[in-house]
């Protein structure tokens, strides 16, 4: 029995040597890279063709919410301005015709903002939140100071996310998403991972 095991070990070793002599290891490496060459690239062609949809928990550009009557929810308590670690929110309150406290001025300097989301946590009226928009670069830091009316118009939280949708780079304005498919497709579906 023992000699049989020794024999098979010897044959294994001879097989390995023959493999080395005919470059079996090099050949297996070459087949691997050849297989990868015809697999799908993992590159997301971001500004040119595709774009990633953020998840609902994503902290993008801030937005202000309206209540059921279409009025701004913010009560101008300035808690967000107080908790802000980089002091980038400026709120000036006023009293509207119904006698409610509302913001006359609500400015966020997104150039200084670090998108921590503490303003969202601190807000007692559920008026401010961080939404899904992440493309708002600018040539001037002055353009990054966003006022109340702009904040009301910003897109809200994403409902679905993680998918990739078709997009197109418009050098005049910004990246446009051109799809009716809200979900996008699963990026990892066709990618070789072994």
């Amino acid at each position: 029995m023992e000699s049989g095991a020794a024999m098979s070990r010897a044959f294994d070793r001879i097989g390995t040597w023959i493999g080395w002599a005919f470059f079996a290891d090099l050949a297996s490496g070459l087949t691997l890279t050849f297989g990868y060459m015809f697999s799908r690239p993992v590159t997301m062609e971001y500004p040119d063709k595709e774009k990633w949809l953020p998840y609902s928990r994503y902290r993008g550009h801030h937005f202000l919410k309206r209540d059921a009557e279409g009025e701004i929810k913010c009560v101008a308590c300035e808690l967000c301005a107080r908790i802000c670690p980089c002091d980038c929110i400026e709120v000036v309150p006023y009293e509207d015709e119904k006698g409610n406290r509302r913001p006359a001025k609500f400015e966020i300097d997104t150039a200084r903002c670090l998108f921590c989301g503490l303003c969202e946590d601190a807000c007692p009226a559920d008026a401010i939140a961080l939404g899904q928009q992440y493309e708002f670069s600018s040539f001037s830091s002055r353009d990054l100071v966003i006022g109340r009316d702009d904040l009301l118009g910003k897109p809200g939280k994403a409902t679905t996310g993680g998918g990739v949708v078709a997009a197109r780079l418009n050098t005049k304005k910004d990246v446009l998403v051109e799809t009716n498919e809200p979900q996008g497709y699963n990026w990892w579906r066709n990618i070789r991972r072994t």
């Binding site: 070459l30 050849f34 990868y36 060459m37 015809f38 697999s39 690239p41 993992v42 590159t43 040119d48």
Partner: protein, 328 residues
């Protein structure tokens, strides 16, 4: 009159050859980056032109407009001479390379080679040997330790591998009874040399990889441990010269492999034009070079020397002896 026509034809051929060889690195760099990208699941160049086709042109313009910097303590004459010495020999070699028998244009037979030398093979190896001077001068003149180390390695590597490379083709010469590349291809009309000379092909191709300084034998550049090897200090157009030379040598080794071992422009099974057959085979070997580059790691310096002297040289000598006995 006849003399003028013949002379004009030669001048035309040489000019065409130089133009093609100078432009060849453009598609090849694109191809190399594309192959590299896809093997690593990337896309490679995509932004300039359709699928990045104009990327090499953009790179060329960038290289031409870069500052041509010469280090303060460099040997200025040798520093300027080295890129030219590296660039010229691969171009000169192509004078002796045939790309086919002949084509008839307007009733005149025009040969697809500049000259049919009877010692073409010797000429090829002699001229390729000069290329090492460009590398040595480049490394020495730059007065930088990385350049010097790179050029020392390259020097040792090229000299060691030229010996088995030269020995490997002797089997082919014995089979064809001629050193003319045209006769060597004609001798392979029925059976390609790879059938009789598998060992010769192996030695030639491995030594060719080392001569072209491609992975797994690219110790001269070894970007991981030497910066960029002998052309660390080069920039702008002088660096471009080294790059062009590297790509032309890669094509040259592919062309020589096809002519010596894979039947040149002789086709099998599918009747294609001979020139097309030739180009297809060369393209395959160029692809093989790139495929190797993005698959294999680099050999260590002592392993490189051991492979050259302890494996390839005895193999090539045994190949000569066996071929000599079998075909005498």
């Amino acid at each position: 009159m006849e003399l003028i026509v013949a002379l004009g034809l030669i001048v035309f051929k040489v000019a065409l050859l130089i133009a093609i060889l100078l432009l060849l690195p453009l598609p090849l760099t694109w191809l190399e980056r594309k192959i590299a990208g896809h093997m690593q699941q990337r896309m490679g160049p995509m932004r300039v032109g359709w699928h990045g086709l104009l990327q090499p042109v953009a790179d060329g313009i960038k290289l031409l407009t870069k500052e041509d910097h010469i280090p303060a303590d460099a040997d200025r004459f040798l520093f300027k001479l080295a890129p030219i010495l590296a660039l010229a020999p691969p171009f000169v070699v192509f004078v002796a390379i045939p790309f086919g028998e002949s084509v008839s244009v307007l009733g005149n037979e025009i040969t697809l080679y500049v000259s049919d030398m009877n010692v073409a093979l010797l000429f090829v190896f002699a001229v390729i040997g000069i290329e090492v001077y460009g590398v040595i001068f480049g490394g020495w003149a730059a007065n930088s330790k990385y350049s010097l180390l790179g050029s020392l390695r390259t020097c040792a590597q090229m000299i060691s591998y030229e010996i088995p490379m030269g020995f490997a083709v002797i089997g082919v010469v014995i089979l064809a009874q001629s050193m003319s590349l045209l006769d060597i291809v004609r001798a392979q009309a029925d059976v390609w040399n790879i059938v009789y000379q598998p060992v010769g092909f192996f030695v030639f191709f491995v030594a060719g990889l080392a001569e072209a300084q491609r992975i797994p034998f690219d110790l001269a550049e070894a970007e991981g441990d030497l910066g960029a090897g002998f052309h660390t200090e080069y920039s702008g157009i002088r660096f471009a010269f080294f790059m062009v030379s590297e790509y032309v040598i890669m094509v040259l080794v592919s062309v020589l492999t096809v002519i010596l071992f894979f039947g040149g422009w002789n086709g099998v099974l599918i009747p294609l034009p001979p020139v097309l057959w030739f180009l297809l085979k060369v393209a395959f070997f160029v692809y093989l070079f790139m495929w190797f580059r993005f698959t294999f790691p680099r050999y260590r310096y002592d392993q490189l020397m051991a492979i050259g002297w302890k494996v390839l040289l005895p193999l090539s000598l045994a190949n000569i002896i066996i071929t000599g006995i079998a075909f005498s």
